[in-house]
Amino acid sequence: MLFAAMISGSRGSAKKLAGLVLGLSALLAMPFLSFGGLSFSGHVALGIFVMAAVFWITEPIPIYATSMAVILLQVLLLSDQSIILERLGPLHPEGYTAPPYVEFYSTLANPIIILFLGGFCLAAAAEKYRLDRNLTRVLLKPFGTRPRMVSLGVMVVTAVLSAFMSNTATTAMMITVAIPIVATVSHDDPFRRLIGLSIPVGANIGGIATPIGTPPNAVALAALAREGITVPFSTWMLMAVPLVVVTLLLAWLGICRMFKPRIDSFEIDIDSSFDRSPRAVASYVVFGMTVVLWVTEKLHGIPTTVVAFIPIVLLPAIGVLEKRDIRGFSWEVLWLVAGGISLGLSLQHTGLAVWMVSQIAWEGFGTTGLVVLFSLVGFLVANLVSHTVSATILMPIAISLVLPLAGGVAAALIIPIAAIGVIVSYANILPISTPPNAIAMSTGLIETRDIAVSGILVGVLGFVFTVLFALVLWPLVL
């Protein structure tokens, strides 16, 4: 087979091959099986779901390619353009009304995808005119030169930036700034590890703070949007920022205890100054204006996802973003999320989600129990596979579970879904758990063991406080 040939020869190929075979078998076999209570179209959807989950986890093909395949398979098998419906019509005997195929395609233009695109534009503009570096310089200053405070400063600044830029881009930028300076510190001084950990920890946690901070947030928001619930930017921040602040501070205290710096003072001296060219200034204005409009939604009523389109239009219009910059966006992330949203559609249309949920007696859990259970599963899975993928696989199931319990109350739906979306961002125990970890590891400042101990600390903090906040604080905000 072509794929098999492509895959063999690289390491981990056994896992990939097994994933490929298992995923394809599930896709092909499901329509021929018959689970009680599940419609035929539900079986087809189950095949696609299992294949997608297996492919996303074992990665025989890139995760974004799996998302693309998910959209195509749904169009071919479950839409009004379905080859099965057309050729073998009676195979959908239970009177499944196939949604228009456009519905699957249009997940790529889902408002949440547009929100992310807006975020990409802002981040690209900030990077292009070095707003990120300059903000780092300005924001680090008040933290002074005492090593622990420098570490706190690095963590806080990384978190603030990664709330608006991708966690990975922020980590790369901060490491770029930090390595040449930290490299001058003696090799056996734990300060090196302290800084090497401050950056990925700050980036991983900081992404939680805003809807655009990291893709799992988008997955949660998209799942809610499908139920007709929109969460304003400011509401998300009111929920997430206190959580980020608390966990970041505790993580800092913990990491400082583990790695006691020996040097007395340390200065991160960044050689850069604000670009004052008209385009740069225009990009700062657009950035500021967009963020202000986002957080003041309750005053003017323009939805977050509509505001997001403003920088998409303005930044290329005033020449801040050029063709090259637009080509440089992480388009594959948008595909990844869109595939997930699209999968959620079929899970609902075909009744698969309801059927899956009905297989286990969940009633005893109650909403609190479900939040804890799904957070735990999400956390464990997200350590091993991509955060976005973990959120994508769990979210449709979670929302079907919570829906009957919520009884039409929006807050009762937002809290558990947001909690799951947030918790995956705390899953950073392994170097491979997130790209920020991988980047920090690659500098040689830290070792796998350091990532593991700080990851366990942050994971426990994140888990405990997310559940706590979800149960105690969030109901007050919503």
Partner: protein, 165 residues
């Protein structure tokens, strides 16, 4: 698994090769160092690397050697699609102006090291050129970063375009 990228040193004096290998030893874990005594051996070595699917990132090459000259070898490499990206460095005391000009103009010479070189010069140059090679080939820089030295690592990371996932 990351791509293995080799360094090739070509010189007809065994002593020179020995010193070069010793100085490049800190890179050995990620960038294996190969040696050849003349152009013909160098070509053989390149063929072998290709069979092993190992990339050739940097070549340090003497000029005056028995048989084909170093500059001619470098020019031939530049004209060969498979070796065009390899960063080419002359390591010599005897290349005349003409040969040097030819190397710059026709072999896209990346660097010139005059014998005798300063201690660590070879290592510094190898680190920098390997960083440039990785950037030019668009390889994922992470597996190599800590061997490239902080400044070069920072340069590579600046263009690192991996997304959140």
């Amino acid at each position: 698994m990351s791509q293995t990228i080799a360094i090739l040193c070509v010189d007809d004096e065994p002593d020179v090769l020995e010193v070069a290998v010793r100085e490049l030893a800190p890179l050995e874990d990620v960038f294996p160092v190969e040696t050849a005594a003349n152009a013909a051996e160098a070509r053989e070595c390149m063929e072998r690397l290709e069979r092993e699917r190992t990339a050739l990132g940097v070549i340090f090459c003497d000029h005056i050697m028995p048989g084909e000259t170093g500059v001619d070898l470098l020019v031939a490499m530049t004209n060969d699609e498979r070796r065009r990206q390899t960063r080419k460095i002359l390591l010599t005391g005897q290349a005349g102006l003409d040969a040097t000009v030819k190397a710059v103009n026709q072999a896209d010479l990346a660097h010139y090291i005059a014998k005798p070189w300063d201690k660590d010069e070879l290592l510094q140059v190898a680190r920098r050129q390997m960083g440039l090679y990785i950037a030019a080939c668009g390889l994922d820089p992470l597996p190599y970063l800590q061997y490239l030295g902080p400044e070069h690592a920072a340069t590579l990371l600046r263009d690192y375009r991996e997304a959140d996932r």
